[in-house]
Amino acid sequence: MFEATAINRRNQRTQRLFGILFLLMTALLVAPVLLILTMLVIKGGPAISIDFLFTNPTHGMTAGGIFPALLGTIWLVAVALLISVPLGVAAAIYLSEYAGNNWFTRIINLAVINLAGVPSIVHALFGVGAFVLFFKFGTSILAASLTLAIMTLPVVIVATRESLQSVPLAFREACWNMGATRWQTIRRVVLPNAVSGILTGIILEVSRTAGETAPIMFTGAVFFTPFLPQGIFDQTMALSLHLFVVSTQVPGVPDDLPYGVALVLVALVLLMNSLSIAFRMYLRGKKKW
């Protein structure tokens, strides 16, 4: 009775055609990258060992391990987090719980977008001008971490704001009706319900911060230093910069060494990201409202 007409059939064909076309495009987008990552694993895998991770570079960085760079990255990320997490969470609480729907809030949101969109090298220039020279921190972990913190602030703000806004308004209203102040409501009701979402954002920020190179090049990270950092006013090596250095600046580096460094960096970043994604999915499954 409902025989498909010629037009129906043609439309169905077009639909299938476009479905396949877009699937192909998606595959072409993903495939080369997976191929490249596989190559990193194949070429870099043999270079990696416990020794590689925990010894100093030797022979003018053409041999040995990456321990100072790894430790330096941990320093930079930790100090950056100490700065950006309180600031970012405060900003997100303001935007989600206090800010009205007006021009001022729009300007803040625009500033957040812009902060994320400013090129990383411009953040580096800002770090040099502000922290290294004006505030006289010199090239130090503090200056580099401040630069990184400001650069990745939008990651924390956006993730936190989203998880705060996903707490239903009814929760807050119930609490206000008990006579609680705004802050009591936020502390006792909103934050406990949003804390895991905030954590997801923080893990994401760790991954972003660990991979950045340009903002730390002139503010605190150095090509090589024989000393491990002792405090926030020391210079340090960093994993991302180390990859740049061994692949472009040092002559006579054996082939597998930069691949090894790249693999460690990618593994670190992707591990953090996967953790954040897995955590998010687990939360979505657990959510009761």
Binding site: N11, Q12, F18, G19, F22, L23, M25, T26, L29, V30, V33, I36, L40, P86, L87, G88, A90, A91, Y94, E97, Y98, I107, I108, L110, I113, N114, L115, G117, V118, P119, S120, I121, V122, H123, L125, F126, V128, G129, L133, F134, I150, R182, W183, R208, A210, G211, T213, M217, S240, L243, F244, S247, T248, A262, L265, V266, V269, L270, N273, S274
Partner: protein, 310 residues
């Protein structure tokens, strides 16, 4: 018989709820407000500090015509340094342009597939993959350009140097595509389902629904995604520094090596003396980059906001 004394009439202080909790509340409100305006402070701070470092050059040595129209960037020349960024602009533009020609169709196609065709597990898997791809650090992309793409291009096209516009363009395209895909997918998801249902009720196939209903409705969001992708490509530093070949050139073909604005700052800032003309010229490039990305982000925001209002 004594009448009961009337209850004392309430005084203003009885309604005063300014107890400790009230003061804490106000204090916290102030603190989070400071957090809220910090983003504005930083954006303004970035501009002020790079302008401050670059100001000496802009007021003194700066020559508008030379800066933007001369292809000669020889800041280290002792007798007659030249500060023309035309070749650098050409480098950035050619690489970003090539990257976008590759990335825009593919990421829009992928976004449409993920948002409209894929379902259930496939969609989740693709979304996770795209998110992970977006996370690969730029220095790793640069390294891939240097060590994998470079020999590949030399062999495939039989050219002497594999670090060129083509290499950097592909690398940059691969970098920008996941970001554009996920923003574009958000824009498609923002189109209300009732649009699709209405179209389907009229007997439209899925492709007709997408082509006639979803795409026109998501037009602004998609344009915003493209703009943000352009902004990303424009501001990318490490990957471009490592994969372009870093030689000052106005490219005539995709096999020419070029040098980008961002890469110039990254490569030269370490070698200049603080306060020198060269140093200040690099900050002037920084101001230029800041302004361009500011304009790109602002217009992306206005375009996306336009869709919400209508």
């Amino acid at each position: 018989m004594a009448l009961p004394r009337p209850a004392p009439s309430p005084r203003a202080t009885d309604f005063d709820r300014r107890n400790i909790a009230w003061y804490i509340d106000k204090l916290v409100q102030l603190l989070v407000f400071i957090g809220g305006i910090s983003a504005i402070v930083f954006v303004i701070g970035i501009f002020i500090f790079i302008a401050k470092e670059g100001l000496g050059f802009i007021l003194g040595r700066f020559d508008f015509t030379e800066f933007f129209t001369s292809p000669y960037w020889y800041p280290a020349d002792e007798d007659d340094p030249e500060y023309g960024i035309l070749a650098l602009i050409a480098g950035t533009a050619s690489v970003t342009g090539l990257a976008m020609t590759v990335a825009i169709p593919f990421s829009l196609g992928a976004a449409i597939y993920i948002a409209e065709f894929a379902s259930g597990k496939t969609r989740e898997l693709l979304k996770v993959l795209v998110e992970l791809l977006a996370a690969v650090p730029s220095v790793v992309w640069g390294f891939i350009g240097l060590s994998i793409m470079n020999p590949l291009i030399i062999e495939l096209f039989n050219v002497p140097v594999g670090l060129n516009v083509l290499n950097a363009g592909i690398i940059l395209g691969l970098m920008a595509a996941p970001i554009m895909t996920s923003i574009a997918e958000d824009a498609l998801k923002a189109v209300p389902d009732r649009y699709r249902e209405a179209a389907e009720a009229l007997g439209a196939t899925r492709w007709q629904v997408i082509y006639k209903t979803v795409l026109p409705a998501a037009k602004n969001g998609l344009l915003g995604a493209v703009l943000l992708g352009v902004g990303r490509g424009f501001g990318e530093t490490m990957a471009v520094l490592m994969a372009t070949g870093h030689s000052i050139n106005i490219p005539h073909s995709i096999f020419d090596s070029v040098r980008a604005l961002t890469a110039t700052i990254a490569a030269e800032l370490g070698e200049t003396a603080v306060g020198s003309d060269h140093y200040q010229a690099l900050f002037t490039i920084g101001i230029f980059l800041f302004l361009i990305t500011f304009i790109i982000n602002l217009s992306a925001d206005l375009i996306v906001r336009g869709i919400r209002r209508s």
